[in-house]
Amino acid sequence: MVLMKRIGMAAVLSGSIVMLLPGVAHAAAAMPGGELAWWIWVCLLFVFSFFLGIIAVIAGVGGGVLFVPIVSSFFPFHIDFVRAAGLLVALSGALSAGAPLLRSGMANLRLGLPMALLGSVSSIFGALIGLLLPAAFVQLLLGIVIIGIAVLMIMSKRSALPQAVEPDCFSQLLSISGVYHDTTLKQAVSWNIHRTALGGFLFIFIGFIGGMFGLGAGFANVPVFNLLMGVPLKVSVATSGLVLSINGSAAAWVYLLKGAVLPLIAIPAVVGMMLGSRIGAWLLPKFHPKSIRLVVISILVLAGIRSLLKGLGI
């Protein structure tokens, strides 16, 4: 089993390095569907999204953050359509996981709704501005953002149960606090939040970036909830999905009404990711999340560099 995992990781890494080579990426870019039949690209996208769904769940990252840089670099689709599909992928993943997390008390509406309100407004503007910018510039910025996310993932420590915090005036005004039953600790955990205003400001920024690049923003939502505002990790992850679904919906409509949603691409990506996420959730106990997380960070760095190079026309 250990050997299989190592072989699998080596295959993923070596495959990523091969894909980073300009010749391979240019081969994809030079084929707007000409050399390969359209249905082959669609099938490849479905299979890719399926495996991405498995990896994303095991690594604890959203699908969108991996989907957009990789698909925009290695598939022949324009980045407008990839960003729109990425948003729908992130949205559907969050919707799929949302109901059980809300029922179990992990996802908290009182915490999520004010942040989603701020983030959704900025995600609309992010999407509008992103669609106005030249594709090469967006690709370049995407590369920088993706490498930044990889660095954030390496640097950020997660705190399963942050120290009890003194609620600030905003959190008291909105009565943001909660209790959930932690199945690992086998006890009820109560929590409060602080630094609500700063957290809200950061959600504006995160919403903008998510809308502009079509990324699900779990990579940023979780550290802000958990490390800045003092929310327990499980509540942070669950509520992040709630915020993401609302922000994603707002930005997705901008893309849809701008003609950037191609169902031919978006639906296989969404369905592949949803199926993969289910398998990933089933496989989760069998894998060591830290090892997979390391592979995902490596893939993010490679995809970010490839995106940077593509943006620079290299």
Binding site: P32, G33, G34, W38, W41, P76, F77, H78, D80, F81, A84, L91, S92, L95, S96, G98, A99, R103, S104, G105, M106, N108, L109, L113, P114, L117, S120, I124, L128, L131, P167, L173, L174, S175, G178, V179, S190, S245, I246, G248, S249, A250, A251, A252, W253, V254, L256, L257, K258, G259, V261, L262, P263, L264, I265, A266, I267, P268, V270, V271
Partner: protein, 138 residues
Amino acid sequence: MKHNPSTGHGADVEKAYARVLERVSWAGVLASVVAYTFYVLHLLPLSVSVESIAGHWHLGADELVARGIVPSGWEWVAYLPSADMLSLAALAILSLTPVAALVVASAAFLRRKDYGYVLISLVQIVVLAVAVSGVFTR
């Protein structure tokens, strides 16, 4: 500090939100799969052929709109029930899931007389409605 009515696992507002989220999102996914099957197998007429889309998917959205290959704004509704636009409609349903859930949540907050969160939910619905209306995308 005020009593927080949303404590304890699975409070009633969260449960109501979850119920709608689950139903509408699954309806959207199911509709997407059915419409997509009709689309790629040509079981219904298309507004634009799959080959035409695939031949131009390396171009930006603006370019495709300018060439009349994809509709902008709410023009796509006029092409229903072509299979490609049915697929787009299914994705639109999926994207509207949070709106439906927020409507139910705002009613649940109202029953609790939690007016602050009624306001937040309603403003959120307005923000999403503005995005859906296409005011900013004209």
